[in-house]
Amino acid sequence: MMDSGELETLELELLVEAVRRRYGFDLRNHARPLLLRRLRRHLREERLESFSALQGQVLHDAEAMDGLLRALACPPEALFSEPAFFSAFRARVVPVLRTYPSIRVWHAGCGSGEDTYALAILLMEEGLWGRCRLYASDASEGLLADARSGVLALPTEQDVRNYQEAGGRRSLSDYYTRDGDWAVVHPALRDAIFFTQHNLATDGSFNEFQVVLCRDTLLSFNRSLAGRVHERLYESLARFGFLCLGRKESVARTPHAAAYEQLEGTGRVYRRSA
């Protein structure tokens, strides 16, 4: 007899195989506990009985697949949701960037764009926007479309406090126009960001960057895939370039750990030194 847990495991494996053969998306290297949680939540939201039911839907309907990719993505956080990172970036990275004539920045795994816009605001305030090229990528077309639209949840009072804590120099509302419960980011910011589809799990490096942001995106991957992605991030980073990870992510167990130096007092900003 198979118990319900074993049955669910079997159904999960069949679903993963179906997604891979039908769409080429490989979920086998996602962090298993996270994958299970997100899929179970997706089932509840879609009112589906089982992973098998989801499998049937996904196989026959490409839109259901995009819904699934959204469910698997990192859910959006507010603008400047991690103020300590942005203030450290201002204090430690910006002064170095000022000495560069041109700067290429890659935000890998931008999701629906909150962190991308926060970074763009920061670069604009620091007078670097004119010589920056900001590329933002994600695997999900749906999320990218959201990000590209520049429509975000209206910032709350907490968001405004975070912005100030992040060293914000103006008023956060200078950067968007209010539309009901939404904030529409000003075109000067939005139109200068290159949003492009890129799957960290399968696609190669596409340029060389002075700054790579990849924060809390690798949490979704298992150790072997995260290692491969780190290989790619390393290849994409210019020598002496900056790699910005999430507060609880590290390069310690990655293939190029020895090539990075952690900047003091910044949480997890690394500089490629070799």
Partner: protein, 180 residues
Amino acid sequence: MSPLGLLVVGAPRGASAEVEALLASLSPRLSVPVLLALHRGPHDLLAMPLGRRCPLPVLEPDDKEELVGGRVYLAPAGYHLLVDRDSLCLSREPAEHGQRPAIDPLFESAADAYGPAAAGLLFGEHEDGWAGMSALRARGGHVAVVGEGQPVDGVERVPLSEVRNWLARWAHAPRMKVQP
């Protein structure tokens, strides 16, 4: 019965003094990893105070750290703590019951990854943790609520002073008979 492979502990913020007492009472020879989800705000420094009296090292892990027996892993502020088979895994999913870290995600992942080899201790009086505890129980894990009093919803209650003995019940595989 499978020998114990993991201990998960969940507690609301109000129970942090009891959690400190629990950690202090753990055996220094405990051979399994302990994972702890304690409700907390973004600026609480907990690992230090909680570790003061604990005979085992208490640390806030990075993502994908390997699990080592005899260590206490505290869920970092702003992240859910989950467990895979031999490593742990952090998540930035939305708060549950208004909490991140929350208890349910930890207990549910322990149920998936360890089932009957997991033991779970819950400190009471918060809605967060009950769903996780029933998931763990459904997978054959050993669960109890810490504190004096009547059993709750059919779940055993263990006084703080008895936790060590309660753990010892699961910590050792029954000795095999020696064949003559």
